[in-house]
Structures are given as C-alpha cells and as structure tokens.
Subunit: 196 residues, 2 copies
Amino acid sequence: MATDSALTTEQILSATEDALRRFGPAKATVVDVARTLGVSHGSVYRFFSSKTALREAVTERWLAQAHDDLRFIAIEPGPAAERLHRWLTTLFAAKREKALDDPQLFATYLTLVAEASHIVDAHVDTLIDQIAQIIQDGIEKGDFRHTPISATARAVLEATAHFHHPAHAAGWSDPAAEDRFEALWKLLLRGLAADA
Amino acid sequence: MATDSALTTEQILSATEDALRRFGPAKATVVDVARTLGVSHGSVYRFFSSKTALREAVTERWLAQAHDDLRFIAIEPGPAAERLHRWLTTLFAAKREKALDDPQLFATYLTLVAEASHIVDAHVDTLIDQIAQIIQDGIEKGDFRHTPISATARAVLEATAHFHHPAHAAGWSDPAAEDRFEALWKLLLRGLAADA
C-alpha cells in the first residue's frame, strides 16, 4: 500500500492497469484504483482530474512502451536500410510480444485506443517522424532516392500495418509471418533505394 | 412473399442480410429469415443445413461482391502497372463504399467475418491470385523485375491493407486517404518496376 503522501503517477498508472486487467475496461473504476493503492479516490483525482484523463494516461504509457527502443534506432549511425529494417522488426516484435503475452490486457487496450483517437494520432505521428529521420539520412547519404520524406515515411508505416497494427494481431502467431514481413520489406526497400 | 416451391438461394441470402441488418448478428435467427420470406424454417434448412452454413454463405456472397469487378481487371490486356493500380483503387473504392454507405451492415459483417476465418482466407487467396496474375504479366512483358510471384502478390495485398482491410475503415473518409494511397502506390510500383 502506498501512503497518500508518497503516491506517484507511475503507481497510479500501474494500479489502473491492474484494475483494467481484473475488471475489464467497461467496469474498472477510479475507486478500484484507489482501493488497490489504499488511498482515497480523491487522492487519485489530485493526479488525474477525471476517469477519462486517467485512462488516456495509461493508454499513452502503453503505446509509448511499444516504441521506447525505436527512437534510439532512428538516431543511430549506420546504413539507413539496415536501421529502417531493424526499426520495423523491433516495432513488430514489441507489438507481437504485447499481443501474445497478455492477450486479455491487449484486448483491453484495443478498447481504450478506440476511445482516444487523438492519443493514437500523436503516437502515429511520433512513429512517422522517426521513420522520416531514417529516410532523410538515407537520402542524404545517397542510399535512398529523393522522395517527399514525410509522405514516404507515412507510406512505409501504413504499408507495414499488417505487422504492427493491433487489428492484425490474430495473424502474428502464424509461423509464416516473418517470411511475409521479409517479402514486404524487400519490396519496400527496392522502392526506397537510390538504384536497383 | 416467396412460395415455398419458388424459393431460391439468392432470396434466402437477401432475406438473411435483411434480418442481420434489422436484428444484428447476435439476434438474427433462421426463423426471422423464414418469416420474411413467408416460408417455414424447414424450407430454409433444405437450402442451408444450419444457421452457421447460412451465415457463412451470406458472408461469402458479401466478400465476393467486393471483388467481382477485380477478376476482370486481372485478365485484361494492357500495362501491368496501370492494371495493378486500377485493381487496387477498385478494391479500395468497393470497400469504402460498403463501409460508408451502410455502416451498420458493415459492422455486422465484421462480426460474421471474425467467425468464419476459413472463408476470409479463401477470399484473401482469391485476391492474391489475381494480383499474382498481373505481376506475372508484368514480369513476362519486362515491365516488372523478377520476384517470387506469389510472395510478392501477398506483400502487395498486405502492404495496402490500410486501404481495404475493414479494421482500417475509420480512416477511409479522411480527405487525405487518396493522396496517402498514391504515395504508397508510388513506393510499391518502384519496388516492382524492372528499372527505376
């Protein structure tokens, strides 16, 4: 139990995730979260002004976890093609792990994500910016041909939705999934490369 | 009302679609279908041995409608790049029309499709075969580079999921959707083309 004075945002978000896992997105309340932490629901409201704000914060944290390693790949040195491949496979692996390890919590987050499209949009923009950074490096070094960077970065993210968008999670345990990703990657890389 | 003796498969499937639209996938029954047609539920069972068989048949018809024009594009003469572009935009337009014109029925079909993955798999295989046919033509005429045809055809379908998979329907009314599709198409075409 946390004492009221030592309560942190991270504790509240973790307790919220527990409540969501136990009661599901339709039934989990701020009172459940407060009870888990041994504090009053007023204490929770001092951190998050509403149940919606709390759910959004936990959704944002969940999405951010999926791409925490990605931003390092985006700024590393090294050939753009290799980094973009690693960035995409890391994203795919992170999403697949979340979906397969804890399918119930994953399903819960699908509900939360559907409620908070502006948070998803911000998440997608972050991912597109990272891809754009790699593509720009590739163009500057002459590995990738000149293209409108931002539109191409979005196209790469959308083209690979099959391997990171939660709606396609049912196919991620298919043993053929990795080969299919590689076939798609080859096609995209030929599309990006300065010469074929 | 159809008399029992004149009853056709098409009538039953249309009545089933009506029942699904009115009562939703959870509540629509074979009795509802029979009542709409003015026949006994036994008459319906002479065509479809179970409620599951009936739901699968209506799902199959619905999916087939989305790609009825596509098979002609796959076998037409003409440059492969132009045909593949037209095939993809026709698929996108057909799905978008279904999603936006009758969102409730579209949502119903999402439920049915989730119940009948073998029917969806067959649908996807049909689409991949059509893309493969166009890619093969393109390779034979020297417009497309040599690639493993079937794997590349699947990669093209998966790469464009954002614009035809029902899970992404919420984005199809976005005014930027067509420009985004074109950016993705350019990337894919450069990946397919024999020389850049």
